[in-house]
Symmetry: C2
Subunit: 215 residues, 2 copies
Amino acid sequence: MGILCGATAAVVDAFDQARVPCHYERGQTLFLEGATSKGMFCIKSGRVKMFRSSPDGKVQMVGLAGAGQFLGHRELITGLPCSCTAEVLAEGDICFLDRETVLHALDHDPSMARNVMSALAASLDLAESRLLEVARMRASARLASLLLQCSESDRLGTVDPLTREEMAQICGLTVESVSRAVRSMGRDGLVGFEGRRIFVLDRPRLERLKTGATA
Amino acid sequence: MGILCGATAAVVDAFDQARVPCHYERGQTLFLEGATSKGMFCIKSGRVKMFRSSPDGKVQMVGLAGAGQFLGHRELITGLPCSCTAEVLAEGDICFLDRETVLHALDHDPSMARNVMSALAASLDLAESRLLEVARMRASARLASLLLQCSESDRLGTVDPLTREEMAQICGLTVESVSRAVRSMGRDGLVGFEGRRIFVLDRPRLERLKTGATA
DNA sequence: GGCCAAAGATGATCTAGATCAATGACGCCC
DNA sequence: GGGCGTCATTGATCTAGATCATCTTTGGCC
């Protein structure tokens, strides 16, 4: 599933030569919305959030990335300034790859191009789902969707739980609304709590809630 | 800007052989959300909207495409069912290209791969902007953003104006809210009307509105 | 184990936009 | 040129979720 899956030996070598590994702490920034992109990042470990800000300072998350995923490829392709800010949520090791190496590989290795296309397509799919949710579904349904999604991938939710604030930034809600909705799910036996962590108790009912069932 | 821009002669030939042109009327469907994709469409003329539906039947537009643009490439890449329905808004000629031809070209022609990556990246960018708008900005700001965007490209807005319903489906609003907001902009001299068409009168103030200025 | 900052919960109130219900204005077609 | 369906407007009302204001928990950490 890595970007190099299926890549030619030449490209693998080139990447190995060019990569600049670095350790990042929580809160550090990989790139800033509006800046010009210098290259691509590959996450070895840790977790990174990407978000956009509205002119009046409101924040909307547009993606979460974990081990094996890469960031900044989009900007390399479009040549436009970074569309979002990437900030480290959970500390880890992240490699940097310069622009030229990546672009060269994209033009010369079809399977790498394929991998990047797949990643873009998957992101697009997720962004559009989120758009539908945020535009048309009620708070509880969006939350249900997020919780189900998190509980599927150990990467999110289980390992290092999201804060209410992060959930709010994903779902397009306020912290208070998330808190209320999550508590109410707890009262109804849909989810349980263990310290700060939330775990899914009743998947079928959550699915129904996600699907728009009024309660 | 077409998908074949920069492509090898072999690929251009293959596409020319394989393409199945067809005329479509308003209201016809190119593909349906949830169906398995059979190939890709290239729009020669006309306009197509793509939308997703929520389980309870609400509709959210995720894209508009006009001449020179292509559809369905994403599904070919992911291999997943169609994420949205594509419906013809303004009648025109659209070519179909079968799955194998396209995938073969993607693997053998780097510049075509590049074109598809660019298109995906651009769609992703737009989807994420829309997500931020819908999640965090007020109705008038979203509308201002849409009107500005439309007035920039003759392709949209000018040629064949969007109905209130379509604007609502793009902005995540109801028809009534769109109508009210648009009228209010008219009263304030931001836009003018000419029959059913809306045209921008005061771009700077619309920009400010888009940026979150309360009025 | 006690302190403190960050995270979460919860109540009271406010409001943008949805919803419901008519009404008006084209454009079109016989 | 009158009738009709589609699109647009407008008013009245309702409500989900935002906002504002505290208060409580939790989890480091010395």
